[in-house]
Amino acid sequence: MFPLGLFGWYLIQLRIKYKFMLWVDDLPFPSVPILLTIFFFSGLFGLYFLLFSKEKKEDEYIRKIRLESFQFATLVQILFLTYSFIRLAFMKDPPRDHELMLFVKTLFVFWLCYIIRFNFIMLRNRLRIRNEK
């Protein structure tokens, strides 16, 4: 649900720049915003399902890894925002929907960093305990 939603949303966004799927624009008026909304929120809800799914045994160590992953994601988000604002300040002709895209990117940077970091630590631990008795 998450990759499909995100991919669909991104594809519709890119259609103007790379001139494909232009048949979407021939649909009656509210179709494009509705399609975009459906794809975006299905992606977002898919992401939230992924985030809030629990491990088989959700104990104190896993909660600690979750907390550290949140801290890591927050740090990355702050760095990303700082970089984006500095870039925006020096941009001569910023795109029209720059603020909206920045908001969406910031949202996804946070949650993706959290998921990647959390699952990386879990996978590393699983590989390490494979040889233990």
């Binding site: 491990e55 045994k57 104190e60 160590y61 896993i62």
Partner: protein, 67 residues
């Protein structure tokens, strides 16, 4: 903080999974405690001590860097 959970588990002939099941935690937690990657909470330390019938301070020991 160092501990001798691995040695005590070996003496009792328990596997990580068995100890994890008795404590109600994941096997990853036992691995993390044994390799000193994670310092357990007081409740979990007391549960471990109860299973091995030892005092907490006999299992967990402060290192010089902790003092």
């Amino acid at each position: 903080m160092k501990n001798n959970v691995k040695e005590l588990r070996g003496e009792k002939g328990m596997t990580q999974s068995e100890l994890a099941d008795e404590l109600g935690v994941s096997r990853q937690t036992i691995f993390a405690i044994e390799t000193s990657m994670y310092v357990p909470s007081t409740v979990l330390a007391l549960k471990i001590a109860k299973i091995f019938k030892k005092k907490v301070e006999d299992i967990f020991e402060l290192e010089n860097k902790d003092k």
